[in-house]
């Protein structure tokens, strides 16, 4: 059996294109063009055959969506299968499509839990905590660390996908992912509590300039509003809501109301 390989130059090329997976995101087929462009970065370095190229494009022109941070597991896996097919080990009809769709969905779900619902809120809260302390340079440093970390993850996952091919299913179903999600979410909750505590302390500090008790009541009211509404309003609308609340508070705070 042929062991699929990708030399460093080709791997770098595929990795750079894979960073733009969502560059042509569209409502109709989402990341399909991004995935195809990434795979073409590998394919275009191989000997051309018009019919094969047409079929290759047809395979990847359908709807595709996954989590961009974990997508390189799949990109590597697909290159693995394509290399096997090119070497004459023709996979069963529909296997590549099934692999792409099922693994893409699994990675999308995992990535949503780990990155969008776990890491991003926790990371945001950590940034805010550093900002509220006044360590803006540390906040920037934290972002740089995340940026470097996710780039490394994408590099390693490309290699893993290329090596494992179909066996990637074992990586995705590992229990470690779910433990990581739980850990990150708990960290986020602790950070939210810490930020809330610091926020209240800071509000007390500004007691000299505005009526602190009313302000804290306003802040508490503000915190309760999203919980009572039970609707995930976008932050932009929360800002407009906060402005309405602030306007109402000016009637109760004579010093601020003028």
């Amino acid at each position: 059996m042929t062991t699929p390989r990708l030399d460093t130059r080709d791997r770098l090329r595929v990795w750079l294109w894979s960073l733009g997976l969502q560059g042509s995101w569209n409502p109709q087929r989402m990341q399909n063009l991004g995935l195809l462009a990434t795979l073409v970065a590998w394919r275009s370095r191989r000997p051309h055959d018009l019919e094969d190229d047409r079929h290759f494009c047809r395979r990847y022109y359908e709807f595709f969506n996954t989590n961009p941070y974990l997508a390189n597991f799949l990109v590597g896996g697909l290159i693995h299968l394509e290399q096997q097919a090119a070497a004459g080990q023709t996979p069963p009809p529909g296997l590549i499509r099934m692999f792409r769709d099922s693994l893409g969905r699994a990675l999308a779900s995992l990535g949503d839990q780990l990155f969008w619902m776990g890491l991003r809120p926790a990371f945001t809260l950590a940034l805010c905590l550093l900002g509220l302390i006044g360590w803006w340079w540390a906040a920037l440093g934290l972002v740089v660390c995340f940026a470097a970390g996710q780039l490394v993850l994408r590099w390693i996952s490309l290699e893993q996908g290329l090596r494992l091919g179909m066996d990637l299913v074992d990586v995705v179903s590992a229990r470690g992912w779910h433990r990581a999600v739980a850990l990150v979410r708990r960290s986020g909750m602790i950070l939210a509590g810490a930020l809330g505590g610091l926020y209240v302390l800071r509000l007390q500090d500004v007691a000299a300039s505005v009526d602190a008790s009313l302000l804290i009541m306003g802040a508490a009211f503000g915190m309760v509003v999203p919980l009572v509404l039970r609707r995930r309003l976008p932050g932009e609308f929360l800002m407009l809501l906060a402005f309405g609340l602030a306007l109402a508070l000016t009637f109760a705070i004579p010093e601020s109301g003028g």
């Binding site: 195809l36 991003r120 805010c128 800002m239 407009l240 602030a246």
Partner: protein
Amino acid sequence: MTAGGFLDWGDPVGFAGAAVLGGLLALDDTAYAQTWLSQPLPAALLTGLLLGDPLTGLALGLPLQIVLAANIPVGQSFTGDAVTSTVGVTAAAVLAEASQTPALLHGSAGLPELGWLLLAVSLLSIAGQYAVGAERRGNTAWMLRGHRTLRDGDLGRIGRLHLRCMQVTFVRGAVTTVAAAYLVYAVWLPLFGHLPARVQAASGLLALLLPGLGLGAVVEQYGLRRSAPWLAIGAAAVVALGTVVRA
């Protein structure tokens, strides 16, 4: 503050720098790499650093980061354009020499002008949704052009179309950033002096109240009952630490 009248560009190099940064961060937001440098706080800090006033970046970026914390790009129909509006408004504040002090930091209650600028970010972000939507519909049209490759097998076309979509994202980011910056510089900031006293006062309170709403939204996302013990641990740790530091 030295924001001038209509068609007064003040420092064109500063506007151009902000436009390039806005374009690059618009790319980072969704299209390329997604390093999170395009999140509101880093974006505002980078704009402030670029134009020589990182504290104004912190003042604007911090409340924005908290209140936008619950904006998750999963299954949401609203996308907004917080990136270019944050960069544009921060650039306008620095270029108009309307330096801001971070609210709640070192006992500062914040400035009414800061709240007024935050309000501009929210309105511009909501307006920017239409530009993002138009860009994505444009991506569909480019993507459909790639169907020709299914007939002629020209693989190079796929890469070119994909890169063109990213170029459009960069240009959209740069243009909306400079438009936001100019609008705030020439109209929004000069308007502040003409506002009724009560609206100015409400703007002053805005930056103080935003973290509360943002935290409420994050807790709602985690689930209050599930997160309560962990929230209590975090809050208790900070309050204890704060008490020790003050003592």
